[in-house]
């Protein structure tokens, strides 16, 4: 091809002047102004955050939303995320464990705290009908959380990384009981632990920390410390630990949870019922009314100081507030108590913990946010369960559900479970 030949298109291209900075700016500003991200269709996506937490986000078409809502036959059915543990490849319909989280909105997100690490979950979003069945709107992708524990024990396969296919070729591990890592391999003498011939770190504080006196242990020999936060006994699990251990574990868990959820409210996880014979998404999770004596947040907000010592009846119209959604439409603010109002009667520790957000609410503030803790789970039927010494009613199948307003700051929940007495032989 002759170098003298110039293609017509190339010539035209060459004649097109490059956009100036002004033109570039004008184009990108116009595009940014006119192409906001489009509204997304109905979908639910799960993302792993860490071994004990997943993130869910969803968007729902208005038409899908209305249609599913109507199919429940309820005027205001709750929108729920139903999370299934499908770790062993179990289809969600047959998952042994599942739990519901009530959510709100055509578009939203939620952080889900998970009891166990190293599991695979999948979720549905939909409306729960009166029988607890789910009218599903979307199903998520599966999400696997990593294990928080150390690796399982050795096995001995190796791969040849030089081989193009990474072929397995040999047993690698010669002796898992390595010699003492603090012993010189040649002389057998203990390795010197004295500081090296280097200027003391404190001479240049805050420079390097003092030398590590002990060499890093070979991690392979450390005992497993997994499942430190697993505190609920499942049917196939060993008996509950002693009450002291349980209380310590509960405290540890909530300390951890408080730390984790400082920025973002999280939903408490719950191991749901074993699926019944209903197919697909039709099985439900029932929820009984609040036990008597446990006030809702709404009630607390409407109380006056004089009411403090009075037992509060459960609110039949109570609906669980979303912890992770924009606040609902503003309601009438609770007027601050008049200065002449009588001082509240002394309250028990139990009531103080339960009503402490009210205590804060007596002051005039620009904004007050109350948080309610929903404790739910199950124990062996017949177990005597108590929280702060107050009995927690168990349903016949051993499940329970109680709500408590959360006070500010750290809270310890001494939850005590006592095995039922052994059945007497006829």
């Amino acid at each position: 091809m002759s170098h003298d030949h110039v293609d017509k298109d190339e010539l035209e291209d060459a004649l097109i002047p490059e956009p100036s900075a002004e033109e570039l700016r004008s184009v990108v500003e116009e595009i940014s102004a006119h192409y906001p991200p489009p509204r997304l269709g109905t979908e639910l996506v799960l993302l792993e955050v860490n071994p004990h937490r997943a993130h869910a986000y969803w968007t729902i078409d208005v038409e899908d939303y209305r249609s599913a809502q109507q199919r429940t036959g309820l005027e205001h059915p709750p929108l729920v995320l139903r999370l299934f543990d499908i770790t062993d490849g179990t289809p969600p319909e047959q998952a042994l464990t599942a739990f519901d989280v009530e959510v709100q909105g055509l578009q939203g997100h939620w952080y889900l705290d998970l009891w166990k690490d190293g599991r695979t979950h999948l979720a549905d979003i939909g409306f729960r009908d009166a029988a607890g069945r789910l009218v599903a709107l979307a199903r998520s992708n599966p999400v696997s959380t990593p294990s928080a524990a150390e690796s399982p024990d050795y096995h001995t396969l190796a791969v040849d990384t030089a081989h193009p296919a990474g072929l397995r070729i040999t047993d690698l591990i010669l002796d898992p009981h390595l010699s003492d890592e603090n012993t010189d391999v040649e002389t057998g003498a203990a390795l010197e632990q004295a500081a090296p011939s280097f200027a003391a770190p404190e001479a240049c504080a805050p420079g390097p920390a003092p030398m590590v006196e002990t060499a890093p242990a070979t991690v392979a020999f450390q005992p497993s410390t997994s499942d430190a936060t697993t505190i609920v006994a499942w049917p196939d699990a060993p008996a509950l630990p002693p009450p002291e251990k349980l209380q310590a574990d509960v405290q540890a868990y909530f300390d951890h949870a408080a730390e984790q959820s400082a920025a973002v409210p999280v939903a408490p996880p719950w191991q749901g019922h074993r699926p019944d014979a209903d197919p697909a998404l039709s099985r439900g999770l029932t929820e009984e009314p609040l036990p008597e004596g446990w006030p809702s947040a709404e009630h607390l907000a409407q109380l006056t100081p004089a009411d403090v010592a009075t037992p509060v009846a459960p609110d039949p119209a109570f609906t669980e507030p979303s912890l992770n959604q924009p606040a609902p439409a503003a309601t009438e603010p609770t007027p601050p108590a008049p200065a002449s109002a009588p001082a509240p009667a002394p309250v028990s520790l139990d009531q103080y913990v339960g009503l402490s957000s009210f205590e804060h609410g007596r002051r005039e503030v620009a904004l007050e946010i109350n948080v309610e803790l929903h404790l739910f789970g199950r124990a062996k039927p017949g177990t005597e369960l108590s929280l702060y010494g107050q009995p927690v009613p168990l349903r016949p199948d051993g499940t329970f559900s109680i709500r408590k307003p959360l006070p500010q700051g750290a809270v310890v929940l001494p939850l005590l479970a006592v095995d039922p007495p052994p059945a007497s032989k006829g």
């Binding site: 184009v27 997304l40 955050v49 791969v159 420079g207 070979t218 920025a263």
Partner: protein
């Protein structure tokens, strides 16, 4: 006798901050500062070691976005202009401080240093630092490798496997075109790994990657040698674990070396100290005070201790002292481990390259002193690169690392939290649209309008996926910029996809976008095509406007 290995791994990355639509743009200074304070000093260190015949082996990953910017004509010109302004300021400072015995030598030091930087950058390497790094690789002292196309945070993109695949494959292809060979290693962005990713890495031809310590220690099978040897996934792709002790010594802001009282203070800068009228020509818009890079004080102490003048000689001596300490620390570590291993223990110490010189001004001198100390007077520790190690010890325990990252808390919290979670629905949706369009228009003739539109859309998608944006949102540093970049790239993406679906666009706009986001000229959008679904299911809801 070599008793163990030390692998110094530097990761060089900056997000794509090229803004031809503005005559001057603040975030381009991220690149300029990194060139002046980090890349040129590192090059100078390696030049010096080579000249002195000191044997050494480093590993350095250079991200595709960084390479693209280092080779970009516009940014090269702008950097030279920036450097000239810096030299001018240093010259003025020499005059201003002529009666100040504490600061005048420092002003002179900066002036000489900037002059030397200009010589290395402009004269010695012809404004293209990629050439310098390639030269070191060819000289056998540097093992270069790469990372994903725009440093996408893969675990949070994997809802669409094609998005992960494109990040990985485009990263390798960019390296191949830049350095004329394939990279053996890959810096998985933010060390964020998940089981299964090794298959994509293998497909791209990568033979090793890095994870944080817990990623290795919680692998599918317990690592027999702990962190002191790599593992290999079942497909033979090896994983090296970050050594926490050596990381802490360099990284930690509390007890790491860079916090030493004798080192230069990063935050005390004449951009904040001097009269506005005087400093105005060298700060943002002549009004907003920023770091100029000229800093006259040392860390001095904690709290409200008045800052003392910086003493370069004292700081260099301290860097050499710290290098010696680092060597002794590694020797002890290796000595303790070697007793129980059938191969020399390996300590892997990866760091962000920008730490050396930018945050830690004396960092390059520390590296220089470290290499010289390792090369002379001891034979227990050998500097090695991950690629060299695998060649020497190709039989590696089989085990797949656990999902993990090197970010805060060790998993994905840093990139997925209340401040940055909003980006993921949009990124996932955009990936879905890209896959759909790439699948639908696989047979589009190369060079056609739609072909160009979809190539540019793929560039916008890759740029939106950069892990830097959610990271910045989390850190709260340049949040407005990160938010804007995310929104702008998504808007460009949807504009281009709409146009591609209609096969109609005002070409000036396409040309403008091609000029704006001009990286990856080789990029073919078909990399996103879902070959299993080359024909779209009619019943399926389309994410793309028809």
């Amino acid at each position: 006798m070599t008793r163990g290995y030390l692998s110094l791994v530097l990761h060089g990355h900056l997000p794509f901050v090229r803004h031809p639509e503005h005559p001057e743009f603040f975030e381009e200074r991220w690149l300029f500062e990194a060139i002046t304070e980090c890349y040129v000093p590192l090059i100078k260190v390696m030049d010096g070691l080579l000249a002195d015949g000191i044997p050494f082996r480093f590993a350095l990953s250079l991200s595709p976005t960084l390479c693209a910017m280092l080779q970009d004509d516009l940014l090269q010109q702008r950097y030279l202009h920036h450097l000239e302004k810096m030299q001018e300021l240093a010259g003025k400072e020499m005059v201003r401080t002529r009666h100040d015995p504490a600061f005048q030598p420092l002003a002179r030091m900066y002036h000489d240093w900037l002059t030397e930087t200009a010589r290395i950058y402009d004269v010695r390497y012809g404004r293209n630092l990629v050439k310098a790094f390639r030269r070191f690789q060819e000289a056998g002292v540097l093992e270069l490798f790469t990372t994903c196309a725009t440093h996408g945070y893969l675990p949070l993109l994997k809802t669409h496997p094609q998005a992960v695949r494109a990040q990985v494959l485009v990263g390798q292809e960019s390296y191949r075109r830049t350095f004329g060979r394939s990279a053996r290693g890959v810096w998985v962005p933010e060390c964020a790994f998940y089981p299964g990713l090794e298959n994509v890495l293998d497909e791209a031809g990568f033979r090793y990657f890095f994870v944080d310590a817990h990623g290795l220690l919680k692998a599918s099978v317990r690592p027999h040698y702990g962190l002191y040897a790599p593992l290999a996934c079942s497909n033979g792709v090896a994983a090296f674990g970050r050594d926490p002790e050596s990381s802490r010594q360099v990284w930690s802001s509390h007890d790491g070396y860079p916090g030493d009282f004798d080192y230069r203070d990063f935050y005390r800068d004449i951009g904040h100290d001097l009269d506005l009228d005087y400093i105005a020509p060298y700060i943002l818009d002549g009004k907003t005070r920023i770091h100029t890079g000229l800093k006259y004080h040392r860390v001095t102490g904690t709290g409200d201790t008045p800052k003392q003048p910086y003493d370069p000689g004292r700081a260099r001596a301290k860097a050499e002292e710290h290098a010696a300490h680092f060597v002794v620390s590694r020797a002890r570590q290796i000595q303790a481990q070697a007793a129980g291993m059938d191969r020399p223990p390996l300590v892997v110490s990866p760091y962000d390259a920008e730490l050396f010189g930018h945050w830690w001004f004396e960092g390059p001198h520390f590296l220089d002193a470290l290499v010289r100390r390792l090369a002379t007077g001891q034979d227990e520790i050998e500097l090695i690169t991950p690629g060299d190690y695998l060649q020497r010890h190709p039989v590696v325990q089989k085990s797949t690392p656990s999902a993990s990252s090197w970010g805060w808390q060790g998993y994905h919290e840093c990139w997925l939290s209340s401040v940055n979670e909003w980006i993921y629905p949009h990124l996932h949706h955009a990936a879905k649209v890209m896959v759909e369009l790439a699948t639908r228009f696989q047979s589009e003739p190369a060079g056609s309008l739609r072909d160009r539109l979809l190539r540019q859309a793929a560039r916008s998608l890759l740029l939106a996926q950069s892990s830097d944006w959610p990271f910045i949102m989390k850190c709260g540093t340049a949040v407005d910029y990160a938010n804007k970049r995310m929104r702008d790239q998504l808007a460009r993406f949807h504009f281009l996809c709409d146009a591609a679906a209609k096969n109609d666009v005002e070409e000036r706009k396409l040309i403008a976008l091609e000029q704006m986001d001009n990286l990856f000229p080789f990029l073919d959008y078909r990399i996103y095509a879902d070959t299993a679904q080359s024909t779209q299911k009619p019943a399926e809801k389309s994410a793309v406007a028809s």
